[in-house]
Symmetry: C2
Subunit: 236 residues, 2 copies
Amino acid sequence: MTNVNSNENINTKIANLDSFFKLAISVDCVIFCYRKDKKALEILSLECDMEPFKGLPSLVGDLVLENEDLDAAAQRIVRERASISNVFLQQVHTFGSIDRHPVGRVISVAYYAFIRCEDMKAKENNPHNPSWVSLNDLLNQPMAFDHSEILKYSLSHIRKNILNVPVENMLAPYFTLSELQSLYESILQKTLDKRNFRKKVFKLEIIKKTARTQKNVAHRPAQLYCLNKGRKVDIL
Amino acid sequence: MTNVNSNENINTKIANLDSFFKLAISVDCVIFCYRKDKKALEILSLECDMEPFKGLPSLVGDLVLENEDLDAAAQRIVRERASISNVFLQQVHTFGSIDRHPVGRVISVAYYAFIRCEDMKAKENNPHNPSWVSLNDLLNQPMAFDHSEILKYSLSHIRKNILNVPVENMLAPYFTLSELQSLYESILQKTLDKRNFRKKVFKLEIIKKTARTQKNVAHRPAQLYCLNKGRKVDIL
DNA sequence: ATACTAAGTGTAAAAGTAACACTAATATTT
DNA sequence: AAATATTAGTGTTACTTTTACACTTAGTAT
């Protein structure tokens, strides 16, 4: 068991690990993207194949390997399951109820990630049927394990800390202020004042103006902005 | 290994656990108290007996048992090591570097607690030599494992969230506003304006006025206050 | 009685937040 | 070419919150 093939699925791994499986640690990632056309957030979700949760949506998770740093495990999992590398990933909370996992004691460290929909073609050669599911749908249906709780906790954390969390990573490299505002509105679930919003993002230096403007839009073209790298984020 | 005697020390446990010890989970608690006379924070610290950290101060930690909820483990550890029950304990972060523990892979979930010095008589019949150590001293000396990092992270979290974290638990049941202010000043490491501080704690309803006043002080006796139970805290 | 000590109290300036409506620039339609 | 439709972009005022600041009060000790 020193060198688990990380492409096996969770079930297989757990079966193999019987000898040491008293306590195991997993990472579950709440992977957000923003669907600009629908002005809605979506979560990367897998179809659970484990009883009693078979068929229910689950977060993207996997066991942490013996020689793997926690943050590295989160990066690996996002890479393997969503084909995304070097993404922003932030730990939120660790969930350790005794009965949260049917196979045994699995303590799960939750992370969240912000990626762009286009960077993850869901369903692509992945046995778990990954797909982007509307956040609102997920919040209104049961999920596998305690993943509903993890999702709600993460969402709550992000809402509270929205100004210190790089939600802009869900946007294309060049974006308009209106797009940014819509994203914030989708997360906070409330409308924001356009002028006040702009004043704030300028003052906080969340973004930088670029020389580019929108092309081929049937209205006044918007200025394009990009992330201000070097901005502080909520890492302590 | 199903029923570890939780009074054994970490070393012993780890030795016993060889069979399953690929990954283990511990809880480390940053237990704060406030020394009113010194106007200083102190941390409950044990003397590490494990190489290569022998003799260095460590936080109060222990392995999580197989059938033990994470939060329950934290409560147990504080109860066993500090003889305090039903204390406020809040998870902050999980530390999972590969080499953070010399004996093997131990992932540690950090909690912090606020207790009253008087409620924990350090050194009392405890083989680990627990003692209250000045926070400032601890910050300026090496600690066992990654406990310096855990301490700094927790402190930083508490400073950021001071208004949503019940630091008042470090005070006696009845306390004066000046005592409360000194506590805040010790945590934030800066002086606060007396009138502004009072306005704020009243508006936030952190505390409640009581009918009592100070007795036998060589100056105008202060009004005594107590905690406002039912106040929201930073739990999501 | 006087001195000493920490408690207790209000106001004004500054900064930040919230509310609000019109003009500008482009593509499309006529 | 002119009119229309659509989203971008922009400032000011009222309100709230935060900050800065100094004197009087109620007890104990001498």
